[in-house]
Symmetry: C2
Subunit: 249 residues, 2 copies
DNA sequence: TACTTTCTCGTACATCGTACGGAACAAATG
DNA sequence: CATTTGTTCCGTACGATGTACGAGAAAGTA
């Protein structure tokens, strides 16, 4: 009665799975490998974004007919799942040393670095079978940062979710600017230059006492530096302070 | 030399802008209004998601030819910008009372409620001209929660970014489950039922001492209750504790 | 009535994911 | 060697998508 197991699951774990004689002996030889396809897809998505990744374009890049891709991958959605696990597996995870602050900072920085290098990760919606080996390894590594510090199991998961989610949001804010610059062909500064007058007129009809002051302060600071550590700093400091307060009680 | 101002900007502020005689007197009468179009688009996106929102489908819903939409809106991307501002304007913002904790909790809860009611907000990438009147009002309201508590301007912006980003991430996690259930036609429980065996076999080749324990604990708690307040609770408590520690120093 | 202005929308095109089915190939079998 | 069987390759085709283009329809003005 229960449905068949998800075939993409075996594909995800293809490298850790023992080759239990399932390698076909007869039949035509594949021109490329699943890893070739996924690696090329990652390369294209890194360059042009996830939306611009098309099966036809990928096929040409790999040197194969468009429909041939479907012998390697069940479809575009499943390809994205494989891309996520593959790209997560590339980063090497440094050993967990130092105190809790240092360890969680490391978790956040690795997460930020991944999302900066592969912004399309932010566009990947919730797909079920994210449970690839590399994602699982990453999760285990992240959890090791908070193991034994006094949190219960649920709190450990929530802490990792909180920290990695925040790092992803920092990357998201950065990426939003880059994307609109690319899509509109205008620098952020150019847009403001062109629209300052109209915006001032339009906003003159309402009062924004706080937002006017804070927004311009944030805008200036934002334009000043793009140091990822700095952008992480404030939020992460608050989160870590709060966590220590929770543990020290 | 500077480019023309963004026409969508005037469209965003169409309600606060005085009708400076720009209302056309001659010519054929429009069958519908911009608000009709945007409201219908929101309705469709609420039901089927942002990806499923097509210009043709929207046109049929509004009772208009597909290409007629382009008299009201510059294109699909600009439509989404209008949808965001329109939907943000619907929520009524309660007055800011109570202490800092209560106020920021309110900010987070409103943010979560919006994203739960309109999950497609999570799929809206960074578009430049988010500066609609309702988004501006919302930002002003959010900032009023931390005005005068001892933060400098930059920290005020970062605090709001931190809190609202966290609330959005909670909504994102919820939405990911709903989406995959809809797209795959399988309940989360059904998927695990069908894939438990295969997953166990596949993961038996590696050791996940912490993730195995924590993951199942989180899974059980996750399946138990879906109270949004509970899901907000832990992370928000940490953030607020950390913020108070920062201010009390 | 004729002209001008504005909105309406049918047609067309490029691009997308992918269903389908036969051709091409490699090993096993006779 | 000839045939069968299993596997991969991929050309063609279909339905959707966003939207450029331009002709037609309606409403006010002269």
């Amino acid at each position: 009665m229960s449905a068949d197991p998800d075939p993409t699951l075996r594909l995800l774990w293809r490298h850790v799975l023992p080759s239990d004689g399932t390698a076909p002996k007869r039949g035509r030889r594949p021109k490329v490998s699943v890893d070739d396809v996924v690696d090329a897809a990652i390369e294209l998505a890194d360059r042009d974004g996830l939306d611009a990744l098309s099966m036809r374009g990928l096929a040409e890049r790999v040197g194969v007919g468009a429909m041939s891709l479907y012998t390697y991958v069940a479809g575009r959605d499943d390809l994205v799942v494989l891309m996520v696990d593959q790209v997560v597996g590339r980063a090497d995870l440094p050993p967990m040393t130092g105190d809790l602050r240092a360890r969680l900072t490391l978790v956040a920085e690795v997460q930020l670095a991944d999302h900066r290098a592969h912004p399309w990760l932010l566009d990947v919606g919730g797909v079920r079978a994210w449970l690839g080996p590399n994602v699982a390894d990453r999760y285990e590594w992240q959890l090791s940062a908070v193991e034994g510090v006094g949190l219960d199991d649920l709190e450990m998961d929530q802490t990792i979710t909180l920290v990695t989610g925040f790092a992803a949001n920092v990357a998201r804010a950065e990426h939003a600017v880059r994307r609109t610059e690319r899509e509109s062909g205008m620098t952020d500064a150019e847009w403001w230059e062109a629209n300052y007058e109209a915006l001032a007129e339009v906003m003159s009809h309402r009062e924004y006492p706080i937002a006017g002051r804070v927004g311009s302060a944030a805008g200036e600071a934002y334009q000043a530096g793009r140091d990822p550590r700095r952008e992480l700093e404030f939020g992460l400091a608050r989160i870590l302070d709060g966590l220590e307060a929770h543990l020290g009680r």
